[in-house]
Amino acid sequence: MTNDIPIMTCQEFQEQLPELIGGGEDLHNHPHYQSCALCRALLADLEAIAQAARQLLPVEDPPEELWEHIEKAIQEEERAEGKETPSPSS
């Protein structure tokens, strides 16, 4: 980001945010960011949310018996189509 860019209004800056953020731009050097406490607060909050989202992992495993249900459903479908299904243990 260069200093040639005229200072934007908050609205103009925020209209560009999805593209700037999604494009990986480092906004901390953006002239509007440096001059506007409100937009700095907004970005700090959005960063906090994106970082906190990572805490929502780890994810969960489905119950063990779900595979049995899927396997059974596959066998039924294949039987209906007239296909041979190898037994699960084979």
Partner: protein, 216 residues
């Protein structure tokens, strides 16, 4: 790269890892499993299930917030996979392709349920009331360091489905915008814009929660 745009590295904690992080031998073994499953090998399909069940189930669970429904959707997704796996041609990564399939199963389910709360289509379209003018900072309080995991989880669950889906895929699951766009069949620009709106909505919800907690 700005922290808001960088994809998380969730795969380090999940069962599956992106192909570029796998050793050549492991990647070759996974490709081999996929090829065998495509050829109708039941054991190979079971292996694919083991590799991907956690992420697909978690996606379903986060989208519907109900264990029984999430199990049904996971089952539907893997049945769809079984029906369609032979048609996978490798135009996108298998994980992206599988997620797209699972996302479609979830979306169909949500549409069948009516989704009267706010339609997905609405969430995927720009809305006038969430324009930039309403996104100003809140200097009286800041979310940095103040976001509780459980509160965030609840807020994500309360997001309209379209926003929730994009937030889960990008910020939680760690997919890039081009992958999300493929999964949701939308443009990369649309993915960026919807994610931004999802984060803005979450910010609004989390700030309200903080204000509620701060009340004497």
């Amino acid at each position: 790269m700005h922290p808001l745009s960088s994809a998380v590295e969730p795969q380090q904690t999940a069962v599956t890892v992106p192909a570029e992080e796998l050793s050549p031998a492991t990647a070759a073994a996974i490709d081999d499993t996929l090829e065998r499953a495509q050829a109708g090998d039941h054991a190979a399909f079971a292996q694919l299930y083991s590799l991907h069940k956690r992420r697909i189930y978690s996606l379903c669970l986060r989208m519907v917030g109900n264990v029984a429904e999430a199990e049904d959707l996971t089952q539907d997704a893997f049945l769809q996979l079984h029906r369609k796996i032979a048609t996978f041609r490798g135009d996108s990564s298998f994980v992206t392709w599988l997620h797209r399939l699972a996302v479609n199963v979830v979306l169909m389910h949500l549409r069948k349920k009516g989704l009267s709360l706010i339609s997905l289509d609405e969430a995927m379209e720009p809305t006038a009331d969430e324009g930039p003018g309403r996104s100003f900072g809140a200097p009286d309080l800041t979310l940095a360091g103040a976001i509780d995991r459980m509160v965030l989880q609840r807020a994500v669950a309360d997001l309209p489905p379209g926003y929730r889906l994009i937030f889960i895929l990008h910020d939680i699951e760690g997919y890039e915008h081009n992958e999300v766009a493929t999964m949701l069949d939308c443009s990369v620009g649309n993915s960026k814009s919807q994610l931004h709106k999802a984060r803005l909505r979450l910010r609004q919800m989390l700030c309200s929660e903080l204000r509620r907690e701060a009340r004497p």
